[in-house]
């Protein structure tokens, strides 16, 4: 199962493209998610896609305050680590 940061970023890009139904310019972990045109509703869809892909459950309270791509990937990584513990 893919878990390293580079591959996670690629997965984020692929899923965001599918959900938003548009192509994104190159972005980094420091990119603010809303700057990509991903609103809070689309971000929840993105979280759901990540949960299904990795078969994890992310608690809602961890979603509060997510601003950057890095914030979201860190929460996903935490979920993966918890599932493997």
């Amino acid at each position: 199962m893919t878990t390293n940061r580079t591959e996670l970023l690629t997965l984020f890009h692929k899923m965001a493209t599918e959900i938003a139904e548009k192509e994104f310019p190159p972005f980094t972990e420091q990119t603010v998610i809303s700057d990509l045109g991903i609103d809070s509703l689309a971000m929840l869809e993105l979280v759901g896609a990540m949960e299904r892909h990795f078969e994890i459950r992310i608690p809602d309270e961890q979603l509060v305050g997510i601003t950057t791509v890095n914030d979201l990937l860190a929460v996903v990584e935490k979920g993966i680590a918890a599932a493997r513990a």
């Binding site: 509703l41 689309a42 929840l44 869809e45 759901g48 896609a49 949960e51 809602d60």
Partner: protein, 284 residues
């Protein structure tokens, strides 16, 4: 500040005859409790009222304040079945107050009053509140973290209206988990902003935090599946009266309530929402 009077009237003043078509005969607009598989909605609503009276330790001859009393189903139950000496209800809906007054229930009084402005002349032996807390904080207040202070202020006020040793029977909808798909998020948004503007359901942990230092949680029972079944029955009855509703209230009202009740059935099924009944005892 939660729901304003105008917003409450959007939610409850569509018309008493409208709600009478799809609620039970006593017009309970809150979850019933199904204790047996074959019970009717009417029987299940009586179960709910009895449980909350027991949680509030409602005794014959006592006085009870019912906060957010709806169309008076709980007031009527406490008067006729529990033989209370006095049951007083407060609501922000003039249509609901009109219905309670029309019923002329013995030992029951009611007034259109915001709980923040309610100042009773005498203290009550017990308190009940069935799914009114959803109107205390707005979605914006919950997002900005003001909701717990608002809930705590509510519990402080109820504490001040009651006598030492009083119990409080409380029923609340619970916000459990946000949906992860667009349709379900939009449907919950419709229920939140179109059907119940100004309000939001609570998280269980918020209530546990907010009752302190005024009330002790003595019992708590979740009833997610009961609310799913209740809203399913409401949806069936709404659709059974589709022709009449379309003729009297129009397509938009029917569509809004069909979507709202369908959303509820889905939300309870998928654990987005749940229900809790609480028995609280005053900390004196």
């Amino acid at each position: 500040m939660g729901s304003t009077q105008d917003q409450v009237e959007v939610s409850y003043d569509v018309g008493n005859e409208f709600f009478r078509l799809w609620l039970d005969e006593r017009m309970n607009y809150t979850s019933a409790v199904y204790l047996h598989p074959n019970e009717t909605l009417e029987q299940a609503q009586l179960n709910k009222l009895r449980i909350l009276s027991e949680y509030a330790h409602v005794q014959p001859g006592c006085s009870v304040i019912d906060i957010g009393c709806g169309w008076g189903a709980n007031l009527e139950f406490m008067s006729l079945e529990r033989k209370v000496g006095r049951a007083h209800g407060i609501t922000l809906s003039t249509e609901q107050w009109t219905e309670i007054t029309r019923r002329k229930i013995p030992n029951v009084t009611a007034e259109v009053r915001d709980y923040k402005e309610f100042k009773p002349a005498e203290k009550f032996d017990a308190a009940t509140c069935i799914c009114m807390m959803e109107h205390i904080a707005s979605p914006e207040e919950a997002r900005s973290g003001k909701h717990i202070d608002l809930y705590r202020d509510f519990f402080r006020r109820v504490h001040s209206w009651t006598k030492p040793g009083a119990y409080f029977g409380l029923q609340t909808i619970l916000r459990n988990r946000m949906p992860r798909n667009k349709k379900d998020i939009e449907d919950i948004g419709h229920a939140t902003y179109v059907i119940f503007p100004g309000g939001i359901t609570e998280r269980m942990e918020d209530i546990v935090i907010a009752v302190n230092p005024y009330w002790e949680v003595m019992e708590m029972k979740t009833r997610r599946e009961d609310y799913g079944r209740t809203t399913g029955e409401w949806l069936k009855r709404l659709r059974d009266h589709k022709t009449e509703i379309l003729a009297k209230w129009g397509q938009k009202v029917f569509d809004d309530y069909d979507r709202y009740l369908s959303t509820c059935v889905n939300a309870f099924d998928k654990h987005y929402q749940s229900l809790a009944q609480w028995s609280l005892r005053r900390i004196d």
